[in-house]
Amino acid sequence: MKKPSHIIIFLLGLIITLSIVKAIVYNRLSTSGVYVGKIEEEIGFYKTQNAILSEKLLAFSSLTNISAKATELGFVKNSSLMVLKRLPLAVKQ
């Protein structure tokens, strides 16, 4: 039967290695929180800009705005609907 000292050494080495890896990963992750925070801020900024632009777009494309602009420019609504009892001469030809 082999001595268990090799296994014990291997396990101890593995524990130490994993602990070091964990410490490194945690260290990296904890500092990247700052970058993630910055990225989130940037996303928030673009979301806000997007919302502001959407608001402008909706305001410009609303019927209320189009109607007011059309009146300003002199467009008038066709006030009467014509019903032709007989076909116009041009259509007949």
């Binding site: 945690y26 904890s30 993630v36 919302a51 909706l58 609303s62 019927l63 209320t64």
Partner: protein
């Protein structure tokens, strides 16, 4: 000296137990409080507010959206020059210096000054770079089409906890769906207050509000509101209403009421204006109810279009009440087609008497009168019928011509849609689809409510109504080339036990084109002063709107 050893020993033991006791107190008894305190030190709870869902018209345009706005706040401990800060803020946000000054008390760290500041104003204030002045971003309701469909949409106010809550209309009815669900995130910080990423996953997921898609056609709603506004002004009316429904689906295409309010500044308006009178107010609508009673009698087989009225030669006395026609003109042996054409009250008294109380109640119930239509809007009301044993002969007679019975405009519109849809009534609805935050769309299928009359009766009644438009008192205003079924209504207003002799509520209800009805429309004007008759007020408004809708749908004249 022997006592010293036990004394030291007992002292140490006592100290040991007191330390153990103290540790027990902090680690067991006060453990929860301490861990809470620690959590406050190294973490912060971030509230993730959901964005309220949009309300879109049938073309996908949001008539209610969200816009970014800011809350201006001040931290008094960081202010360097108090007077300068107060006067600058006061001039920029239009709040008196006295009211700002009274808020900035010592010991306060966060003082809200003004909410609803737009991005442009925020930039303007930020440029001045005032220490201690900051902004909090919020989303508030934005109405690209201004106050269009205000009664239908409702508005967003605050509840007892200061959170957004929808009131009236769709905002009220679909509040839970629109507002979504708040989420919370716990963010851990290091000693310098920097966020720690590895511990950032403790979150309760919130949910954005769902968008709702309406059956409302934005263009028709816009034109209806403009036409109604002009008509109310032109006819000197106190107010008015227009409701349009698609009979085959129950979709409400447009619904407008005046006077109205602005959803954005709802606080500036009288609370009485918030209710949508089209679904909340009951009226004695008069002659516009006659087609429903006549259709019931035709369906029951108690009259035919050619049945002659044997009691129409003059005023009729019922239980000591003398009942007249609206213009005191009488037509002896008139038939049922002419009764509707002349809007003959005596003829309708005859029809009601032929129908009888039981069948009258039964048919009106089948038409949905005297109960809720179940439209998906907040605040719908109805007026139930009086008990069967309280119906007297005069009640039956007046119900025949639409007086003495109170109904909401939506009840009448839905009941009338049966005539345009082969006798079938569909549940009226304003929302046709929901869209959740993942973009999934759930459509709301149309729902048949009942079939009060047969398709044959509906067709006969339609022809009687076409005749009423062609030859009735409103014929001067009818649309040339189109076959439209319709009926005027000039109703007296009950005031303290009698009817007001000077004021009326005028209405016109109809549908077009008769061959394949695209819409059923009800127009009501409240106490017009230019004329008290529907044929001179409500009817021209109906045909004016109908002309534009037919043109909008590209429906050519049939004649």
């Amino acid at each position: 000296m022997k006592w010293r050893y036990p004394f030291v020993f007992i002292t140490f033991v006592a100290l040991f137990f007191s330390i153990i006791g103290r540790l027990f107190y902090w680690q067991v008894v006060k453990a929860e409080m301490l861990s809470e305190l620690a959590r406050f030190q190294y973490s912060g709870i971030v509230k993730i507010l959901p964005r309220r869902g949009e309300i879109r018209t049938s073309d996908g345009f949001p008539i209610v959206a969200n816009k970014v706005s800011y809350l201006l706040f001040v931290n008094p401990t960081e202010i360097k020059d108090k007077n300068k800060t107060i006067s600058t803020i006061s001039s920029l946000v239009d709040i008196s210096t006295a009211s700002i000054s009274s808020e900035l008390l010592p010991g306060r760290f966060w003082v809200p000054i003004k909410a609803g500041i737009d991005a442009k104003k925020k930039e303007e204030i930020e440029k001045i770079n005032l220490p201690g002045v900051g902004f909090e971003e919020h989303y508030t309701r934005f109405y690209p089409e201004a106050s269009i469909a205000a009664h239908l949409v409702g508005f967003v106010g605050k509840n007892e906890s200061g959170q957004d809550k929808g009131y009236f209309g769709l905002e009220g009815y679909y509040d839970r769906l629109l507002r979504g669900k708040e989420g919370y995130g716990v963010e851990l910080h290091d000693a310098l207050g920097r966020p720690i990423l590895s511990k950032r996953n403790e979150q309760t997921k919130g949910m954005e509000g769902s968008n709702i898609v309406l059956s409302i056609d934005r263009s028709i709603q816009f034109l209806v509101e403009n036409k109604l506004k002009n008509a109310v002004k032109m006819y000197g009316a106190l107010g008015g209403m227009v409701g349009i429904i698609q009979p085959q689906t129950g979709n409400i295409i447009a619904m407008a009421s005046l006077p109205s309010f602005s959803q954005k500044n709802y606080q500036e308006y009288d609370e009485g204006l918030y209710k949508n009178p089209f679904i909340t107010n009951t009226y004695e609508l008069g002659s516009t109810l006659k087609p429903i009673v006549m259709a019931s009698a035709l369906d029951a087989g108690v009259v035919t279009p050619q049945t002659k009225c044997p009691i129409c030669g003059g005023p009729i006395t019922v239980s000591d009440y003398e009942l007249h026609t609206w213009n005191d003109k009488y037509y002896k042996d008139t038939n049922m087609i002419e009764v509707i054409q002349h809007s003959d009250n005596t003829g309708m008294v005859f029809v009601a008497s032929q129908l009888g109380v039981d069948r009258m109640i039964s048919y009106l119930t089948r038409f949905g009168i005297g109960s809720l239509t179940d439209i998906d809007l907040q605040g719908e009301t109805f007026s139930s019928f009086k008990p069967r044993n309280a119906w007297y002969a005069v009640d039956l007679a007046t119900t025949g011509f639409g007086q003495g019975i109170s109904i909401t405009p939506i009840e009448l519109l839905v009941a009338f849609s049966a005539l345009a849809n082969e006798g079938k009534i569909l549940e009226p609805r304003v929302v046709t689809a929901f869209e959740n935050s993942n973009g999934e769309i759930f459509k709301v299928p149309p729902k048949v409510k009942g079939t009060p009359i047969t398709a044959k009766t509906a067709k006969i009644m339609t022809e009687i109504l076409v005749n009423a438009v062609e030859k009735g008192e409103a014929q001067w205003t009818k649309l040339k080339g189109y076959r439209i079924a319709g009926k005027t209504g000039t109703a007296s207003i009950p005031v303290a036990g009698h009817y007001d002799p000077t004021n009326t509520i005028v209405s016109f209800i109809g549908f077009a084109p008769v061959e394949k009805p695209k819409f059923v429309m009800l127009v009501i004007l409240d106490k017009p002063t230019s004329s008290i008759y529907a044929a001179e007020t409500a009817a021209p408004l109906f045909f004016d709107i109908a002309k534009d809708i037919l043109s909008y749908y590209g429906i050519p004249p049939s004649e």
